[in-house]
């Protein structure tokens, strides 16, 4: 059985700028892939290509074995897509709109009512089914957006920032829904909210300046980024060379006001030596605390320092 999504050396240029440059990855059934990246990194462009809204400039893209370029209709049948702006006809009621979506996705006529009821239930829209989309709150509109992506029960669901504009309770519900969908579908979601990735995804992928920087499973990642780190604060500027020569120290990041982050190998705790050196040089140690790195720090590190890619 082939993977649900196979992306091979996919690129997209807008004029001469490469929005997406030579990325390759796979998505298997049962995986929830979190797509991370700063603004303008190429997340949305990639998702548009995956959904068939945008043609790639180079590379191949296979959805459940069907090539998006040569068999677009078969490939698109497998996909449910929520773009960054939900595509809603606001002058229609929820039921009218979702019925139209089901028809567009070739849901057989006799199954439409069942699919509609099921989707309304899943997305918590049953109470507002007869309301005009325009008169719904942003959160509910976002839910209608998700509903249109899943009404035809696609094998791949692509969600571009699905929790934007939702209140905390709704966010929780949507995350549960995504997790639930992830069990028997392949899900790709892009987001800025890193805790969302930690909570819902099984895989993480970081895209930066159009290139794929990292693809890891969340379990591996947790071990990777939970490196140890020390924060020290001094009165005088320190000599960085002296400190970085201490065995076990990987890297020292300088912050303003004489604050330094020292990353080290957990097996060779250098805090003792660091203290000694600072005191002996009279730099005036004011504070020393262990720092727990989060996914966020790790994300910032990877996106602000492209050399780390290799």
């Amino acid at each position: 059985m082939s993977a649900l999504i196979e992306v091979d050396q996919l690129s997209r240029y807008f004029g001469k700028t490469a929005a997406v440059n030579n990325i390759s990855f796979n998505l298997e059934k049962g995986e929830v892939l979190g797509f991370l990246g700063i603004n303008g990194a190429g997340k949305t462009t990639t998702m548009q290509m995956l959904s068939g809204c945008l043609e790639p400039s180079k590379g191949t893209l296979k959805i459940a074995g069907f090539d998006m370029l040569t068999a677009p209709l078969l490939a698109k049948r497998q996909i449910g897509y929520l773009p960054d702006t939900p595509p809603l006809y606001k002058d229609q009621t929820v039921t009218e709109f979702l019925t139209y979506c089901a028809q567009l996705h070739a849901v057989p006529k006799q199954n439409i009512t069942a699919a509609l009821d099921n989707t309304l239930e899943r997305c918590g829209l049953t109470k507002v089914a007869t309301r005009l989309i325009n008169n719904l709150s942003k959160g509910f509109q976002q839910r209608v957006g998700i509903a249109q992506a899943i009404i035809h029960n696609p094998s791949i669901i692509i969600l571009d920032e699905p929790t934007v504009g939702l209140d905390p309770i709704q966010i929780k519900e949507i995350r549960c829904l995504i997790k639930e969908l992830g069990q028997d579908h392949g899900v790709i979601l892009s987001t800025h909210i890193l805790s969302e990735v930690e909570e819902t995804c099984t895989q993480v992928q970081i895209i930066h300046k159009g290139q794929l920087v990292v693809k890891e499973s969340l379990l591996n990642l947790a071990q990777l980024y939970k490196q140890n780190c020390l924060m020290i604060k001094t009165n005088q500027p320190v000599n960085l060379d002296l400190l970085s020569n201490i065995p076990g120290v990987y890297d020292i990041v300088t912050m303003p006001e004489h604050i330094y982050h020292i990353e080290y190998d957990p097996n060779l705790d250098p805090s003792q030596t660091v203290t000694e050196i600072i005191i002996s040089h009279g730099w005036g140690l004011q504070e020393m605390t262990p720092v727990k790195t989060t996914l966020e720090d790790w994300f910032v590190k990877y996106t602000s320092n492209p050399d780390l890619i290799q």
């Binding site: 043609e55 209709l73 698109k76 897509y81 773009p83 595509p87 006809y89 229609q92 567009l104 005009l132």
Partner: protein
């Protein structure tokens, strides 16, 4: 899938007050033009009765009514088509269609048919208005249906242009302006017929109005039908090509070029191999049998020169008549000369000169009888008479009582528009508060 998109598009027009308002306004304008025309006819009726070969009810009321409707729909169509693709692209709802398993062809055709449906409802509304004439007179139904057909094809051509404009530009207003501008230019190409002595054949072929008027006259010609089919298909093919932001792919570009070439060839063929049906009941667009026989008996080229000032509508009437002769006999040439340009003194009885084998005849005016008579004389070298039957319109009478006219006024100008408007408002109010 085309029907799904088309019916969605069609229905959504009627869910907003826009379509209803347009229908109501259209009803008022067309009915007003119609009722004025009816009054004119009733006044002229007595005079017309005594004129040989005078135009009938259909010519005086229905043909101008449909011409006016054509101009009004030229203004209305851009308003309806401007949002078709453009607005979806701006609101990002186009992604819904693009990511669904539907081809670009289905999207464009669905949108086109959906919008055309609304315009055809308008054509239906316009077509129903003059049927009131049947209360007090006869109509040339063949010509009436030719008018309906002509207007239907015309709005289809308008819609195709509108959909194309909406596909390529990124703002509805620009799409509306673009559609309106290009349609107006195509419409006005027709002017060259009356303002220049040697009209450009290509430009004349491109003119929408020319083909529309040809169909309106009741003469259904494959040339005109072919023009509309090619016109509509061309804009549809181009819309399909430009719908999604595609990378330049050789295969698709080639395919588009091939399609356009095929369409151009179709237009050319429909121009060469023509077939005509005269839908009018007294075959007023067809030459009489005697004229046909006469023309077959004249082997040498005929030159017809007319001395009429530029911009006179009689020029196009003469051109239309000579066109019928040219259909039967290929080597007839028609030239127009403006007497002002050459400082010629033209006497009223030599406005038209017909030349054959070096001899010529001067005429004060041309209709079939006079032109055939002149040709007969020139061909036979004798002053015998040829018998050309005069085709009298059979729909000459209209008898409507005062009450009937008042009732029509109330129905057309008040009741119907009011009902349409009210329906629109009710539907809109109901939906708005959902």
């Amino acid at each position: 899938m085309i029907t799904t998109i088309a019916s969605h598009e069609f229905k959504s027009h009627f869910k907003s007050p826009m379509a209803w308002t347009l229908l109501a306004v259209l009803q008022i304008i067309i009915a007003y033009i119609f009722l004025t025309q009816v009054e004119t006819f009733i006044l002229m009726q007595a005079k017309l009765e005594n004129i040989q070969g005078a135009p009938g009810l259909t010519d005086i009321i229905i043909t101008p009514l449909f011409s006016n409707a054509g101009i009004i729909l030229l203004l209305v169509t851009p308003l309806l088509t401007m949002r078709v693709i453009c607005e979806e692209r701006r609101n990002k709802t186009l992604n819904l269609l693009l990511s669904a398993p539907i081809s670009n062809t289905e999207i464009i055709l669905g949108k086109f048919i959906g919008t055309l449906g609304l315009l055809w409802v308008m054509v239906l509304l316009i077509a129903l208005i003059p049927l009131a004439l049947l209360l007090g007179g006869d109509l040339d139904l063949g010509k009436y249906f030719a008018n309906v057909l002509g207007l239907s094809l015309l709005v289809a051509a308008f819609t195709a242009t509108g959909v194309f404009m909406s596909t390529i530009v990124n703002h509805p207003t620009v799409a509306a302006m673009g559609t309106f501008g290009s349609l107006l230019i195509l419409w006005l190409f027709n002017i060259s017929k009356t303002i220049s002595d040697q009209p450009n054949q290509l430009i004349e072929y491109l003119s929408l109005l020319n083909h529309f008027q040809n169909i309106q006259s009741g003469l259904i010609d494959t040339n005109d039908l072919g023009y509309f089919v090619v016109f509509i298909s061309l804009f549809i093919v181009l819309s399909i090509r430009y719908l999604s932001d595609q990378q330049l792919r050789l295969k698709k570009t080639l395919l588009t070029i091939i399609m356009v070439t095929v369409l151009a060839n179709m237009a050319w063929l429909s121009n060469i191999y023509t077939y005509q049906i005269d839908a009018t009941y007294n075959a007023s667009n067809t030459l009489s049998v005697n004229t046909q026989k006469l023309l077959d008996a004249l082997p040498d080229p005929v030159t017809i020169t007319t001395y009429i000032e530029k911009g006179q509508s009689i020029r196009s009437q003469i051109a239309q008549l000579v066109d019928r002769y040219q259909h039967q006999k290929k080597n007839i040439t028609l030239t127009f000369i403006d007497p002002k340009d050459k400082d010629l003194k033209i006497t009223p009885d030599s406005i038209v000169t017909v030349e054959y084998q070096g001899r010529h005849e001067n005429l004060a005016y041309v209709d079939e009888a006079m032109l055939s008579q002149a040709l007969f004389k020139l061909g036979n070298n004798q002053a015998n008479k040829i018998d050309i039957p005069i085709k009298n319109a059979q729909d000459k009478f209209l008898q409507l009582t005062e009450t009937q006219i008042t009732l029509l006024n109330y129905l057309y100008l008040l009741c119907l528009p009011f009902i349409l408007l009210l329906t629109g408002i009710i539907i809109w109010q109901k939906r708005k508060s959902k």
